[in-house]
Symmetry: C2
Subunit: 168 residues, 2 copies
């Protein structure tokens, strides 16, 4: 099947744009995403939290002082849905909601010490797996991985992704 390292650009395309190759890509995403969330899920389950809590904690950690509205646009859920999660995190003393100084309508979200501990616990677990996958695959593969994923995002999501990219 067109495996011949034959000619220039067209055969190159044929190498990876067949329906079969695309199906493999689709299933790779499906199975990998399950691995990606498996470790944090275990920890969260023991604590009575879910993935939604993880996401909130992650992005508050990434952007301390972020507003609820900003978080909403990143997470792409309704405020009622986010609020339910946020409320439990605040009640449990993991997140602090501070009234805005310039605009007092806004709430600026911060992790407490306990929240920071949970974030670290979760992201340690998730990073361990990703580190091992990265190490296994090598730097070239990591670049490709990120390139494809970025190309797969919706433009709006890509903006949120790229926003803090200076660290890259």
């Amino acid at each position: 099947m067109a495996d011949g390292p034959g000619n220039a650009q067209t055969s190159e395309s044929l190498l990876f744009l067949t329906d079969e190759q695309l199906r493999k890509g689709i299933e790779a995403m499906f199975f990998a995403y399950r691995g990606f969330t498996a470790d944090p899920d275990r920890i969260l389950g023991e604590l009575g939290y879910g993935r939604a809590h993880h996401r909130a904690v992650h992005f508050i950690h990434r952007s301390p002082g972020t507003t609820v509205n900003n978080l909403l646009s990143i997470l792409g859920v309704t405020k009622q849905s986010l609020n339910r999660v946020l409320r439990t995190l605040i009640e449990d003393g993991l997140v602090e909601s501070r009234v805005g100084r310039q605009d007092k309508r806004e709430r600026h979200l911060h992790l407490t010490e306990a929240g920071t501990r949970l974030e670290r616990q979760l992201s340690d677990a998730q990073r361990d797996r990703m580190r091992s996958a990265f190490r296994h695959a090598g730097p070239e593969a990591v670049i490709g991985f990120r390139t494809v994923l970025e190309a797969m995002m919706d433009p709006e999501m890509r903006h949120h992704y790229t926003a803090l990219k200076e660290g890259s």
Copy 2:
């Protein structure tokens, strides 16, 4: 660990195993997965189905005649959960459940014509996005993408992924 900028191989690691690089990888997975499911989700929403239906239809299409048990182990859900989805698909005439010939306890699942049409509609949408991402990123990147994702899977899931890999 072993962050010491010591020898050759570790410095290579330092290029892409910083916490910041790992965080970018984590967010890339998060944002990309949303893009990955966005198009099928829209179609499914209009039809009154959900992601669970998509997954069932996808894997029945991939392995026609698969048994319920096999599907359970691929999807990693309970039989009650799968059954709810499967029941509606059968009622709606998208999936056919045939009693096993050797082992009559087993049910072998097949897509009907209508089911095949839905599968095609969904996977066309999903493949379009992946094809465009692949094309954008180039063949090298696609290899890296698949390599990292495969390394991120749980071993059991990797087995399901690799099972039909002869097509690769």
